[in-house]
Amino acid sequence: MIHWLRHSFERLRSVFQRAELDQELDTELAAHLELAIEENLQRGMSSEEARRRALISLGGTEQAKEHHREARGLPAVDTFFQDVRYAARGTVKTPGFTVAAVLTLGLGIAANATMFSMVSGFLLRRPPGRDPERVVVVTSVSPAQGFQPDANAVSAPNYLAWRAAGNIFENMAATDNYRAVSLTSQGQTTSVPSEAVTPEYFTVLGVSPHLGRIFAEGDDQPGRDHVVILSHELWDREFGSDSSLIGRSVRLNREDYTVIGVMPANFQMLGFTPQLWTPLVVTAADQTAAARRNRSLYVFARLKPGVTLAQARAEMKTLGRRAEEDFPDTEKGWGVAARTLPDFLVYLFGIRSALVVMMTVVGFVLLIACANVAGLLLARAGTRGKELAIRMSLGASRLRIVRQLLTEGLIIALLGGGAGLLLAYWGVKFVRANMAFNEAASAVPLSLDWNVLLFALGVSMLSAILCSLAPALTASRTDINSNLKDQSRAASAGRSQSRLRTVLVTAEIAMALFLLIGTGLLIRGVFLIQHQALGFQAEHQITAGVTLDSARYKDPVQQTLFVKDLLPRLRQLPGVGAVAAVSELPATGAGHVTLLIQGQPELPADQRPRTVDVIVTDDYFRTAGIPLLRGRAFTGLDNAAAPRVAVVNQEFVRRYLKDQDPLGKQVRLDLSGSTPAWSEIVGVVGNVKFYSETTRYDPELYEPFLQRPVSSFSLMVRTSSDPNGLASDLRKTVAQADLELPLAHVMSMSTIIERQKGGDLLFMQMLAALALLALTLAAIGIYGLISYSVGQRTHEIAIRMALGATGGDVRRMVLSQGVKMVSIGAAIGLVVALPLPRVFAAVFSDIDTSDPRTYVIVLVAIFLVALLATYVPARRASALDPIRALHSE
């Protein structure tokens, strides 16, 4: 083994010492000849004869050198370098060809690298901590259909039961996300996204703090729970990276918390953006039957060594079934799902299907680019037929020719890869700038990282093979005799070469059509969502999030008092039309609850009707511009002392109260933590989209704030002028009501909707850009082929014209060649694109992608572009001067 290694190393080394070794051999051979001549002279030969004999015995110095090189080095490597040198000379000698090929491939590779930087940033990034693949996230599976029904949060009783029962997990932790807290520092109170976690959380993830310590057992005991861990970003921004902060106290929700640790900067999980962590205190109230309806926890657990994910899933399924049997009232139909942490984060973020579509699109773009370059190489191989024939007649093997052409393809592909990475640098910059539409997306670092560089290299290699294999094989079949005998000066392409090029361009058209229809359907679907009516007036609204802390507003009465105090103050502000408080802003994804309707059978929990549940103050419908269709809206008289009332939307009536008078009907919501109470429906309002990106309408039920106060809600203020101009007035007014109460997300309603749709706009723009690129490349392909073939047929066309063909005849002839190709390609592309709407429907449940018009429009567009690309060379052909063309032959 060692011997073999040594020998291989020596051979490899000799490849790089070629000049030196050759020179030594020269000296040696010269000495050899001298010695031989001298011996021959001693035998009595003439000096001339002595020299001749010596040379004959040696058998040729060049052959001896070649033998020597083969014996000492790696002939394959030598040949490769020779090919590289040759190919490099070729690319420099034909700059036009090189620039066209490199640019085409560069565009294709840039699109791929840019898109892959998103795959790398979103899908391939490992979550922080030790062996994240061994961390499992346990979620509830909702019986209702909807967005990600199998990634529902878990109730506290279930978490406690699973933690007690589990013997497959090393440890288990629960977190409550999306809890905003008010942080007061230097007299300023701000709202900070936070996460309440059980003490085991950081241990389960296997992360260490940047400073101080992580939570320990006992930190969640009442009285000892006022400790906080800060994110690196918050520590840096609010406290100037002060290391002495550990052990000092900060003010959160009007109470003092001791800072015990700071997490490292790289502790970031996709989609989760808490700035601080406090202990999650599980109280007695969390263990009641009513708490089962309150599903707000994500459960993280680390697998015991040797336990597989499949075992964990089976175990959790059993536990889920047990809960279903023991508590059918609340658990019926609910299941349990388990995913690894990396898988869960990506799934929850919901970007995978969009990225799969984008990667498919850029893959096709690359194929089209490769087909174009392959066409260029084929054309060049045609003009080089004679050169190759000469080389083969001089003894080059076909394999040698193929290898050399592949090397040329490789050089072009690598240059294209370099150009592509350069373009991708701007591509990534563009994507990064446009991916900042919300906190979670902008927290993902996008860059040309190692993954992307390796990917680009792989793509370049693949392109090299795709581009040059067909031309190389065709060229290697060059018929030496006919090529050498061919006397014409014009380069002649073999029949098989031009046929192959036609096939390539036809395939390009098919792919471009397929791609255009696919992207067209998606763009139209997304556009419809972007521009759908949401059912309320989003313009001229400014909104802000309020979280009433339990230190001052624990009692619902205090919550009511605050709202009753604040809203009239806001109404006084100049330019304000109407003001309301609402538990969830419209079209931002409010929660669902199940309910009972009087007079209808009491169904098991998983079959009960479901409705979006929103709590609003009395002026809400007027403020939001939601039309009242029947009955009445809420008034200030619908307070805690009055009979409970509710307002529903049209969809609620259509689905659950068909052919009945909704007014006067009694409904009862299945709520956690409160005794069930019946409410009377007093009004019907127009439908509002549950989320800005869904196309369907959901049943909605509104309750008056005074009858069901909540501690977390949004303010909605309708203005007559630019809503953003009111932000500081809004803040000041709230500060007058409570100095230590921060407002979160002060922004206009339109901005909120835009931020929710931000990804869509980018998705649309990128799809459109790629579709345009594909179309352009295909057009270049057609143009290149037709104008090349016109050039080839100059002689024929000139004769035709000399024999009386008119310019129109020639134009028609060339055009028909193009039309034939486009027709075949379009037919193939159309057939392949037919099932696309069904495929998309399975991936994007909320986008309507069935639109026959898109097919027609794309078809017409392809034909127009193709005809234009054909027309230019056709015109040139018809303008040919037959006399001059024939003379020049």
Binding site: E10, E28, A31, E34, A64, H67
Partner: protein, 130 residues
């Protein structure tokens, strides 16, 4: 890409048919020559092989250098620049310890093989006669 040295006898040149020699033969000859003669330059080795074969074997002398570089890379011989008898700069090769070991092994192998070949070919001749 194995290099195969070609030994051509006077007779086969006349018959214009070339005989491919088994791989490694020239390597072994060079080793043996160096083992017996001590340090020698390329020309010396080639001439010595020709002389030993009674000038019945014509060696394409240039091929000896491919053989020598291969032996050298394997560590069986070493080389050193020196001065030849006619006062010219020449490379002198000498066999190494590893080379001697290898030579001993290969010589046994070749002797056994040629013995067996002789017997096998002899047997065929008898069969034809009877």
């Amino acid at each position: 890409m194995c290099y195969t040295p070609v030994l051509v006898t006077q007779e086969t040149i006349l018959a214009e048919s070339k005989l491919d020699l088994l791989q490694g033969t020239l390597d072994l000859m060079a080793l043996q020559t160096l083992a017996v003669m001590g340090p020698l330059h390329g020309y010396g080795i080639a001439r010595r092989i020709e002389q030993v074969s009674g000038d019945r074997v014509l060696l394409n002398q240039g091929t000896i250098y491919a053989s020598l570089v291969r032996l050298q890379q394997r560590g069986w011989i070493s080389a050193e620049w020196g001065t030849s008898s006619n006062n010219r700069k020449a490379k002198f090769y000498s066999i190494t310890k590893k080379g001697r070991k290898r030579l001993a092994e290969d010589a046994v192998y070749w002797q056994r093989l040629s013995g067996v070949m002789g017997r096998v070919l002899g047997m065929q001749g008898e069969g034809e006669n009877s």
